[in-house]
Amino acid sequence: MNEFSQQIAADLPQDGKPRPEWVRALRDGAADQFRAHGLPTRKDEAWKYTGLGALELRGTRLAIEEEASQSSFAAAVIEVEHQVRMLDGRMLELAGGLPAGVTLLSLDEAIKNDVTGNGVTGLQDMLESLPASKAKQLSSDGFSFLNTATLENGIVVHVAAGADGGRFLLNWSTTEGDARLFNSRVCVILEAGARLELLEQFESANANTSNANTNNVVFQAELGEGASLQHVRLQQESHDAGLITRTEVIQKAESEYAYYGFDLGGGLVRHDLHCSLVGTAAKASLNGAYLLDGSRHVDNHAKVDHMATDGFSEQYFRGVAGDSGKAVFNTAVYVHPGADGTEAKQSNANILLSRRAEIDTKPELEIYADEVIASHGATVGQLDEQAIFYLRSRGLNEEQARMILTTAFCQSVSDKLTDRKLSEAISQRMMDVMPQAQG
């Protein structure tokens, strides 16, 4: 275990708070694992291309519990009726009230309610069942262990059977100051036939000042039969900030999960996105765009486990890297024995705008079932010179031509959003940060 991990382990607080026994056991167990294995290193296969040097270099320390001295938030990317403000991993407030059938609580409140018997159905099971990533080295799961070892902050959303929860915005911000690591847990439970749209925005309130904090968020969702979750994530953190997230989605029969992720900022970003299709005819659609400039690093690992019949999954990711930006993309599909009739599509295309930029993309596909339709493609290339000439021959200069082509390339992701207002707002954000081409 390296010095950085040891420092974080040493910062793990001595816990004197009253908690239910199962929570204490969960926290202690994870703390032991973390002390034994630490954070991932490049020796872990899943972290081969992503080192944590940037966090260490900034002197990142584990945040210990304290009240924030100030709180400021970026303006919401679009107007949303129900908005939850998350500061330093803690739920601050909910604006806009709750639609019928929706329960929304801070995590510690939800756990307290659990003690009195008014808890959210399924919460304990969910928290206790965060699956291991099955990596060979346990350090691969270091951030998850750390997250569970400090389990306290976060949010729980429950939508009752058949209810339409509408759209919620989780607006994440951190208090500016020394580089700190904040842990938070999001739990989303949709009962059968329930529906919810979650829009997450990770953005520093003040775009002009540097913010070297890191959020470590574990997002768990369970979709009951026929439930539907649309999950949109806009990440436009400061260039010094870190964001480590893990999304675990369990899908029962005929449920639908749709993810649209936009990585437009952040210095060190890692997202592990994992769907388990445990019920028949479940559908997972994972889409994302990542735009890199400066020396930013964005690593997305997307994986779908098809564990039941007739499932459908698609992964559609587009990346653009300029300057000395570095993107890592790993897309995996695993079709388990018995998951007959599965259809799985994977598509990842990337454009390099500079010689110093780097993109590492790796598709993985393992099939152990029959009647499976699967396709995958991963490309890294430059802009089409024929297309550039065509645009120039009509009067657009080279810079405009390149901008139009890279924007269109990324818009193919935002265009998939059916809400035109949202897709246009995100498309505009992408245009604003589009990296420039250079030699």
Partner: protein
């Protein structure tokens, strides 16, 4: 308007144009015909400024300016338009958005005010009406999934909106059936004007049944081997290009053995 003097050009190190002279004035339509590999498309690409086409000798002036010193977009803004032989598909870029950006870039260059989306749409509808083209191509990505005929019509539509001074049609008839050919030719004829010059590059005479040229030139082995009126095209139709070699003008002996033109 356009004056080409002793033009020599290389593609991939191979000399394709070998001393071409041509002058086009406003209101004139010039047809350039010739066998495959004679350098017809090279001429179009040199005029538009495509990379990889190296001019080794000679000069081209356009309205008195040295064209060879201009970037492709500057040439477009000066009023040169190339209708591509193979229009490029650009997924994700909306045709209307692209055309408005292009028109406004040209207007800006000329010091004219840019058009807002309302005025632009009005202009576009007017042009579509004149050309008898439906508006479905406005909503699609540039050339993406277009049939051959749709791509060529889109080129003519762009030309109508951009209103160039000199239009170069590079084998616009290739790959078109007779109905599409007529539509395209009709579009071109509607754009004929006393101020506008046109160069129609074609391999076959049939396009010239519908677009009647003022002059017909035969390009062979990188030079104009013959020039005449519209009747020259008919002679070519009857006799093919073989008479060129019989007359000892060209050195091309076999179309298949002719050097392939760069795309």
């Amino acid at each position: 308007m356009l004056k080409i003097t002793n033009l020599h050009a290389k593609v991939a190190g191979k000399e394709i144009l070998k001393g071409l002279n041509l002058e086009v004035n406003g209101g004139e339509i010039h047809a350039i015909m010739g066998p495959n590999g004679a350098g017809k498309s090279t001429l179009g690409n040199v005029l538009a400024g495509r990379e990889g086409y190296e001019v080794t000798q000679g000069e081209i002036t356009f309205n008195g300016k040295n064209l060879l010193e201009l970037e492709p977009e500057e040439r477009a803004c000066e009023g040169i338009f190339l209708a591509f032989q193979y229009p490029v598909e650009i997924p994700g870029v909306n045709n209307t958005y692209f055309l408005r950006a292009a028109l406004n870039a040209q207007r800006k260059y000329r010091g004219e005010p840019e058009l807002d989306s309302v005025s632009f749409l009005r202009l576009v509808r007017e042009k579509l009406n004149v050309l008898h083209i439906g508006d479905e191509l406005l909503h699609r990505a540039v050339n993406e999934g277009f049939s051959g005929g749709e791509k060529k019509r889109n080129e003519i539509f762009q030309m109508a909106v951009l209103e160039p001074m000199l239009a170069i049609l590079d084998e616009t008839d290739s790959g078109l059936d007779i109905d599409a050919l007529k539509t395209v030719a009709e579009g071109v004829n509607r754009l004929r004007s006393p101020d506008r010059g046109m160069i129609v590059i074609t391999h076959y005479q049939r396009l010239l049944d519908y677009i009647v040229p003022d002059k017909v030139h035969v390009l062979a082995d990188g030079k104009l081997a013959a020039t005449g009126g519209a009747e020259l095209a008919l002679k070519l139709e009857e006799e093919g290009y073989a008479w060129l070699e019989d007359g000892g003008i060209g050195s091309i002996t076999n179309e298949n053995a002719a050097p392939a033109e760069a795309p």
